[in-house]
């Protein structure tokens, strides 16, 4: 039998049921993996050792009583953007360094309800703003994968949920929560060889999740298999009356949907996702993915999403605009860090200048600018109109196809220091992921192959709003066909 940290959630669930090992064994195996590897990877900002053991022992008690819920005893990493009662929640920012929430986010409360064990809080780009985890005030995260040719280069795990992705890839956790505002789950999943799920907007409650851009923030899971991702999403999802944008729709059995197959499905290939500067191996992998689906009985259809080219520009107006307002509450008055000043204005300026890093400050300034009198119509209002057109693109296309297949990111993981000279270069990482956030449609990144350097590449499946089931079915087929078995260099027991 392989070691405990290599198990999938499905395998661990069966093992716990069969009493092959205890939940405490499982949690201890992960805690010691964290102890061994986290100093290097920096995937966790906070490790909640004793709480995890308490939860594992409670899980064992439940298992002994014959009560096994969806996630009883399964150890997870929680992105440090989810407020966790009694456990410090930093959002990757200095401004929340001392903040210990007295409440539990709805999504993490759902996971706890289903018996999950929380190992700790995963590193992230500050306030989830970034594509490399380089903007975290708690230091960068190292991607556990290495280039074959250049094994010394320290690669980024992607972002913003970089800590979550690195933790699951390196076997420090069996799964993790993330949030995806413009690709923050799918891009790191692609960079780390994982399954990353961004469900429909409204599927997972945002209550208790530190807000970046309210209309674009989507909580979702990371896992090592599509089926594990389905199990995690099934637990995280559900209507929450505390979030007015949460959808009151039933949560279907996602795990069952993974086994549906793709026979008879129509899979769209959006022309606008092709470009001349796309690396050949990504283009090839994409074609390969379409062949797999065709071989499994799907029909491949060329489609058009004509407003795709405006996605990134639209996103980088809407997201900073909302962020500039959402982050106004970090003023040093009621919680978090404060720097006293000569007067009120000075207190605000010092607190925020010292509390926020450069990327957060940049986005607050962009957002403030696009909302200001005289610019609102030209930027924010226009972006909202284009957003509506992008949504219409998807609605039109989904009248003819069941799902779309695209690459997740325009490259494999890059090294720390690369793409750092120009924020626009970094923003381009989101080009394939952003449209699904603007439209609120579900999307999954699934590992499909390796590049020439041996680094993982993901393919993205995008579906109709609230039709995660089809997305899981298609992703599971890609997973099956790809037979992705490569492992990262840095991993527990590796």
């Amino acid at each position: 039998m392989s070691q405990l940290t290599d198990l999938t959630i499905v395998q661990a669930r069966d093992g716990l049921r069969a009493k092959d090992f205890t939940a405490e064994d499982l949690t201890l195996a992960h805690l010691s993996a964290i102890e061994a590897l986290n100093p290097r990877l920096n995937a966790f900002i906070t490790v909640s050792h004793s709480q995890a053991l308490d939860q594992a022992r409670a899980a064992d008690k439940a298992l002994a009583a014959g009560e096994q819920l969806a996630l009883t005893g399964i150890p997870l990493a929680i992105k440090d953007l989810f407020c966790t009662a009694g456990v410090r929640t930093t959002a990757g920012s200095k401004i929340l360094e001392p903040f210990v929430p007295p409440y539990e986010s709805s999504v993490t409360a759902n996971l706890l309800r289903d018996g999950a064990v929380f190992l700790g809080k995963a590193n992230l780009d500050e306030f989830a703003m970034g594509s490399s985890n380089m903007t975290s005030a708690y230091g960068p995260v190292e991607n556990p994968w290495k280039r074959r040719q250049d094994a010394n280069a320290v690669l980024v795990p992607g972002g913003s949920s970089g800590g979550s992705a690195a933790a699951v890839a390196a076997r420090l956790a069996m799964g993790a929560t993330g949030t995806d505002t413009g690709g923050s789950i799918r891009q790191p999943a692609s960079f780390c060889g994982l399954v990353g799920v961004k469900p429909s907007y409204g599927r997972c409650s945002r209550w208790g999740v530190v807000a970046f851009a309210s209309s674009l923030d989507h909580p979702g899971p990371f896992a090592r298999t599509v089926r594990d991702g389905a199990i995690l999403l099934g637990s995280m999802a559900g209507h929450d009356p505390k979030d007015s944008t949460s959808a009151d729709v039933p949560v279907p059995d996602y795990e069952a949907a993974c086994a549906r197959g793709v026979k008879g499905l129509r899979i769209g290939v959006p022309a606008e996702y092709r470009s001349d500067d796309m690396p050949g191996e990504i283009e090839a992998l994409w074609r390969q993915g379409l062949d797999w689906l065709r071989a499994a009985g799907a029909e491949i259809v060329d489609v058009s999403l004509p407003h795709t080219k405006y996605g990134l520009a639209t996103y980088y107006i809407v997201a900073p605009a909302e962020a500039s307002s959402n982050l106004a509450r970090y003023d040093g008055v009621r919680f978090g860090s404060r720097r006293d000043g000569e007067d009120l204005r000075d207190l605000y300026e010092r607190t925020r200048a010292e509390g926020f890093g450069p990327e957060v400050r940049r986005r607050i300034m962009i957002g403030t600018y696009v909302l200001s009198a005289g610019y609102y119509d030209a930027y924010y209002l226009r972006a909202q109109k284009i957003r509506a057109l992008i949504l219409k693109d998807f609605t039109d296309v989904f009248a003819h196809v069941d799902a779309l297949l695209t690459p997740t990111a325009p490259s494999a993981a890059f090294a720390q220091g690369e793409n750092m000279d120009d924020p626009i270069k970094m923003y381009l990482n989101d080009v394939f992921t952003v449209p699904a956030n603007l439209a609120g449609v579900p999307a999954i990144s699934v590992p499909a192959g390796l590049d020439a350097n041996g680094l993982p590449l993901g393919l993205q499946v995008i579906g109709k709003v609230f039709d995660e089931e089809t997305v899981f079915a298609v992703a599971a087929e890609v997973e099956r066909a790809a037979g992705f078995t490569a492992l990262p260099s840095i991993r527990a027991g590796g």
């Binding site: 989810f82 407020c83 929640t89 959002a91 929340l96 903040f99 929430p101 007295p102 409440y103 986010s105 945002r206 209550w207 208790g208 999740v209 530190v210 807000a211 851009a213 309210s214 209309s215 009356p241 505390k242 979030d243 007015s244 944008t245 605009a321 909302e322 500039s324 307002s325 106004a328 509450r329 003023d331 008055v333 009621r334 919680f335 009120l344 605000y348 403030t368 909302l371 200001s372 009198a373 609102y376 924010y380």
Partner: protein, 483 residues
């Protein structure tokens, strides 16, 4: 010709529009479950949503929407089936999230109208532009510590209705009448307690002046005026100031001002450099507010009788003048008090007693209509004693005085003090005979044509009978004795 101010360059007209902020009566805040009671311990009614903790989200309180819609219906206004919430962004310590959730472009209530009555008996329609829901801010306390400011967030997030009028108001009197009428309507509806001292209703007063027939000139906004009287004084003071500016060759600058009630002037509140750019945008945490037409109709049908309807009914049912009815209906508690007194009795006499002796006693004792010095039931019984000739009107005043603050039944006071009216004609004849005998000189003068002396004889007779004589019978007896 209405209100006008004579300046050195001619006659000026005043143009006023009002933005009234009315705190919604509801148990919980607009977007959180925190309590809203006034006067609680500082920061004892604050949820994590109100304090804008990370990850907290607003959820609209249905009751606040219901109250806003009912108010809109009470103002004869259009109800918008779809409305939106926006964020108004600015930094201040008593605004925890750094933005106020308000309704900027799409308010829940559209155009309506309020009719006011003026002292000269005329009425005027004042247009209501819109009514929208928004959050109140907390309170900054700057006088509690030598170097620090304290913040009380109890009020943060409490629902306010901002009711914006058209610039239809043309005098301090109209401004006062509008605020009074609005307050009355809100109190009838039970959507705002109208308590201006506690700040649950306050007005921003927009004032400009112009020569007759001109388009509007620049206006100034006087913020947070907290009584009807101050609204009227502020209009007058600001109009005078602007006329002086224009007439001395200056230009009125659009700005925000405060009314200094101690000095009776307005002064600038913030300078232009501080002018806020509120960066309004739709709140992405809230979906559009969509109302069900059937629900609106339900609310419309369940509205209580409102001031205008009640005034009309009082005139029709009780035969009161517009003025008396207007006085009685201004406060719904007064109207209810009057109706209890008037029930089954002479309504005009009841109205005279309520607006006369009762109001005077209320003022004198500092009592309130909710806790009156004489109950409506007992005042009614007093009127019964007059009607059935147990006491006369003169004695009734004494009985009323004896009732004040005692809760005593008027009949028992009459019995205790032996104030029952004398209707025994032999006793009256005897008293009259005595007065006539003692004043033979006056009798002679009366008979020689000095008719006015009749009153003297009535007074003397009444006095001799300790005020208890039946006035009609005394008159008859005197006429007989003096003929």
């Amino acid at each position: 010709m209405g209100y006008a101010i004579e300046g050195s360059t001619g006659t000026w007209e005043v143009v006023v529009g009002l933005e009234v902020h009315a705190q919604v009566i509801s148990n919980a805040k607009l977007f959180s479950g925190s309590a809203t009671a006034f006067g609680a311990e500082p920061n004892s009614q604050v949820s994590f949503v109100d304090a804008a903790f990370p990850g907290m989200l607003p959820v609209i309180n249905r009751e606040c929407v219901r109250q806003a819609v009912r108010t809109g219906l009470g103002l004869n206004a259009h109800i918008n089936v779809v409305s939106h919430f926006d964020r108004k962004n600015y930094f201040y310590p008593d605004l925890p999230s750094g933005y106020q959730i308000s309704q900027y472009e799409h308010p829940v209530v559209g155009a309506g109208v309020v009719e006011v009555q003026l002292a000269d008996g005329s009425t005027k329609q004042i247009g209501v532009t819109r009514l929208h829901l928004e959050q109140d801010a907390g309170k900054s306390l700057h006088d509690q510590h030598p170097t620090k400011s304290f913040i009380d967030l109890n009020r943060a997030g409490v629902a306010l209705m901002e009711i914006v009028s058209e610039p239809d108001i043309r005098s301090p009197e109209e401004a006062g009448a509008y605020v009074r009428k609005l307050r009355s309507i809100l109190r009838y509806l039970g959507t705002c307690d109208g308590n201006m001292e506690e700040g649950s209703m306050r007005a921003d007063v927009n004032v400009s002046v112009r020569k007759h027939g001109e388009p509007y000139r620049t206006r100034c906004e006087i913020k947070n005026v907290n009584s009807v009287r101050f609204v009227m004084l502020a209009v007058e003071a600001e109009a005078q100031r602007q006329i002086e500016v224009w007439e001395s060759g200056g230009t009125v600058q659009q700005e925000t001002r405060l009314f200094d009630s101690a000095r009776g002037i307005t002064r600038p509140m913030r300078s232009k450099e501080d002018a806020h750019d509120y960066r309004y945008f739709p709140d992405p945490d809230l979906l559009p507010l969509v109302l069900d037409e059937a629900w609106i109709e339900e609310l419309r049908l369940a509205l209580p009788e409102l001031p205008d309807a009640r005034q009309a009914r009082f005139m029709r049912e009780y035969g009161l003048t517009a003025y008396d009815a207007g006085v009685l209906i201004a406060e719904k508690e007064t109207a209810a008090f009057f109706e209890t007194v008037a029930k089954g009795r002479d309504a005009k006499i009841a109205a005279n007693w309520v607006t006369g002796d009762f109001f005077a006693a209320l003022n004198r004792t500092g009592g309130s209509i909710e806790n009156p010095p004489v109950s409506a039931e007992n005042l009614g019984k007093l009127l019964d004693l007059i009607a059935d000739n147990t006491i006369n009107g003169r004695i009734a005043k004494d009985v009323f005085e004896a009732m004040l603050g005692t809760g005593k039944d008027p009949a028992s006071i009459v019995d205790e003090k032996g104030l029952r009216q004398v209707t025994d004609t032999s006793a009256i004849d005897a008293a009259v005979a005595k007065i006539v005998a003692a004043n033979q000189d006056k009798v002679a003068e009366y008979k020689s044509g000095k008719d006015k002396l009749f009153g003297f004889f009535v007074g003397q007779t009444m006095k001799a009978m300790a005020g208890k004589g039946n006035p009609t019978l005394i008159n008859e007896a005197l006429k007989k004795a003096l003929s």
